[in-house]
């Protein structure tokens, strides 16, 4: 599974390997592997309930995957193998691939090259993932509802600032604070949200709330941006604009983008590559053109006619 670090001259940003997420007896994500390279826009599509958002939650630390490994810029950030009750319950594949013993042994392990690596189980919390440089938006918009547009963005700067609770309380961090405010104002200006900066975030129209959520994610200075159905509830016109917007911010901030989306025109237009997930499993992968003509994808979306 181990791929070259550099593909077509691009660095590998995100590598998900054999990730399985099992809740009780339900396998939401089944042995999923995918890669995203620097500067790409990659889409993850699939019917409802295919496990796309769960995959995002595994990458961002909201869930601890039951099994598998996730790397960011070639550094392992998440790694787990079935433990405790899951040892018995686990019904996915590659059960023993990421145990300590397997990672130590040169033949059996996930990286069969015999090199010595850390064998630790890694279960970071979402904030640690964000600090590494992965930002996300949510399927159902999650803005801070009692805060203004400006404050929503400003929150992202909290962890980046050099300060502690004493310097913050006694305003000894005023330089940091000033810089954070200026950065946020610049970002809002750039996103066209400056005129409503003092409005309550939830008072914005739906489309702008989506945009604010993306702006907020950008304010954490990410390298990789995960967008969970950014066009949900938008009309074709708005979807069009959003597509341009995503490409624009990608270029402007040197981002890599992984997105979940149901609007196929958006997906087909802006993605470099597409992964298709169904019932937790990856069923297809390729360029937009390849995926469009893949029979399994068509079956997954439209259903299969059973022979009588």
């Amino acid at each position: 599974m181990s791929a070259n670090t550099v593909q077509n001259g691009k660095r590998n940003v995100l590598r998900v390997e054999n990730v399985t997420m099992q809740f009780g007896g339900v396998i939401a994500v089944n042995n999923l592997s995918l890669e995203v390279n620097e500067g790409e826009i990659v889409a993850l599509i699939g019917p409802n309930g295919a496990g796309k958002t769960t995959t995002f939650n595994c990458i961002t630390g909201v869930y601890e995957p039951t099994n598998g490994e996730i790397s960011f810029y070639d550094q392992v950030i998440v790694r787990n193998h079935p433990t405790g009750k899951m040892k018995k319950l686990y019904a996915g594949e590659n059960k023993d691939l990421y145990t300590r013993a397997a990672l130590r042994s040169p033949e059996k392990g996930a990286h069969g090259d015999g090199k010595r690596r850390s064998v630790k189980v890694l279960r970071p919390t979402p904030d640690q993932i964000t600090k590494l440089g992965i930002a996300r938006t949510f399927q159902n918009i999650r803005l801070f509802k009692s805060m203004t547009v400006f404050e929503n963005v400003l929150i992202a700067k909290h962890v980046r600032a050099r300060q502690n609770i004493f310097t913050a309380t006694f305003r000894l961090n005023y330089q940091e604070e000033k810089r954070a405010r200026e950065e946020c104002l610049a970002l809002l200006e750039e996103q066209g949200l400056l005129p409503m900066k003092d409005d309550l975030a939830t008072s914005l129209p739906y489309g702008l709330q989506r945009r604010l959520e993306i702006s907020r994610a950008l304010a954490t200075n990410p390298k990789l941006l995960l967008l969970d159905e950014p066009a949900a509830g938008m009309n074709p016109q708005e979807t069009q604009e959003l597509a341009d917007f995503i490409v624009h911010i990608k270029n402007k901030y040197n981002l890599t983008v992984l997105l979940i989306e149901h609007h196929m025109d958006l997906v087909m237009r802006i993605s470099d590559r597409i992964y298709v997930q169904d019932f937790g499993k990856l069923i297809a992968h390729g360029t937009p053109a390849e995926v469009q003509n893949n029979q399994r994808v068509i079956d997954a979306y439209l259903g299969v006619v059973e022979d009588a």
Binding site: R142, V159, T169
Partner: protein, 363 residues
């Protein structure tokens, strides 16, 4: 422009506070020391501090904790234990051979120690319980408060805590300026914190934990911070309460006390510091002073006014509270703060109302 306005606001606030202290000082010179007003002001200031500290946790961080009485107890005891003058030890600790603490510390040091002791306990308690969600957290903190209460009454700790007996003879205050100054400084610190970057992080956690985490905010660390700081000030508040009462006993710090503070916070508005302060004074004034007449048997001529009897005040009072809880769920202030603009707003509102009246009259 913005800066100028900020400075202007600051000056107005400082002037208002200075005026308040001068008025209090003048009042103390002209009114008798046992006037009901001073009881209300003293107790109100103390409750204001405790309510604001609870609001920091419940209103601003969204952590529904019911441990306040426990932390106040720790503060009250820490203060009392370390300030009882040595010459009184034999009479206070009469069942425990004069106790084992053989030194005292100055009042201000003891106040800080009171806060610190509560904060340390809170930190330790927070490690396991802050992972719990909403009502589970509430019941766990309530449980800890009860455990603390039992612990301080334990005979084996008698040489320090005097078991289930009273602690007394420690330094107290007479002037209303003292609780106002201490509570004022503490509340000011809390306000500074709330308006800082950390305060914003707390509010983010309250609004949406998952989104806050996605913004890089370490939930465990920030909840722990809020919990510990809130408890620090509850501890200081407990110490002030001990000073006010001149005696202290663990049995008084029941969960009913926490409920009372919670109701104050709710009436003032979850997420409003000035609301908590305002409602503390209203709460204390109503329960200790204004509704007193309801407790006295009253005769108009030969006719005895029905219902009025000892305890009726509290019944009426709890009905008022229920009305607030049910029909004015956001409390007095909602999550807004009292400021110069509020007064401006009230003026505009009144003018509009009165203006309309005039129009109606002219019609």
């Amino acid at each position: 422009m913005d800066k100028l306005q900020k400075r202007k606001k600051l000056i107005i606030t400082a002037a208002a506070l200075a005026a308040l202290f001068i008025i209090l000082w003048v009042l103390e010179q002209i009114l008798p020391a046992n006037a009901m007003l001073f009881v209300v002001l003293k107790k109100g200031a103390i409750y204001a501090l405790v309510a604001v500290s609870m609001n920091l946790l419940n209103g601003f961080t969204g952590l529904f904790s019911l441990g306040q009485a426990g932390f106040m107890l720790i503060g009250a005891y820490t203060y009392a234990i370390f300030t009882i003058p040595l010459e009184y030890h034999d009479s206070v600790y009469q069942y425990f051979n004069g106790g084992i603490i053989k030194f005292t510390v100055p009042v201000f040091a003891a106040l800080i120690m009171a806060g610190a002791a509560a904060a340390i306990f809170a930190y330790l308690i927070g490690l396991p319980v802050l992972r719990l969600k909403s009502d589970y957290l509430a019941i766990a903190t309530l449980g800890f408060a009860e455990i603390i209460r039992a612990f301080f009454q334990w005979d084996a700790l008698g040489p320090v805590t005097n078991g289930s007996n009273l602690l007394r003879q420690y330094p107290s205050f007479t002037s209303v300026l003292f609780p106002f100054a201490v509570a004022g400084v503490c509340i000011l610190l809390i306000v500074l914190l709330i308006n800082s970057s950390y305060g914003r992080a707390f509010k983010a956690i309250r609004d949406d934990e998952i989104a806050a985490e996605a913004m890089g905010i370490n939930l465990a660390k920030h909840k722990q911070l809020s919990f510990t700081i809130s408890s620090f000030f509850a501890g200081v508040g407990g110490a002030l309460l001990a000073m006010y009462q001149t005696t202290v006993q663990a049995n008084a710090f029941k969960s009913a006390m926490t409920y009372e503070i919670l109701l104050i916070v709710v009436i003032g508005g979850l997420g409003s510091v000035s609301g908590s302060v305002l409602s503390s004074f209203l709460f204390i004034a109503a329960s200790e002073w204004w509704l007193r007449f309801l407790d006295a048997d009253t005769y108009i001529g030969a006719f005895k006014v029905p219902l009025l009897a000892s305890g009726f005040r509290k019944v009426v009072f709890s009905v008022i509270i229920m009305i607030v809880v049910l029909f004015y769920r956001n409390g007095i202030m909602g999550d807004k703060e009292l400021s110069a603009e509020t007064f401006g707003g009230i003026r505009r509102f009144l003018r509009k109302r009165l203006g309309r009246r005039k129009e109606e009259v002219t019609k």
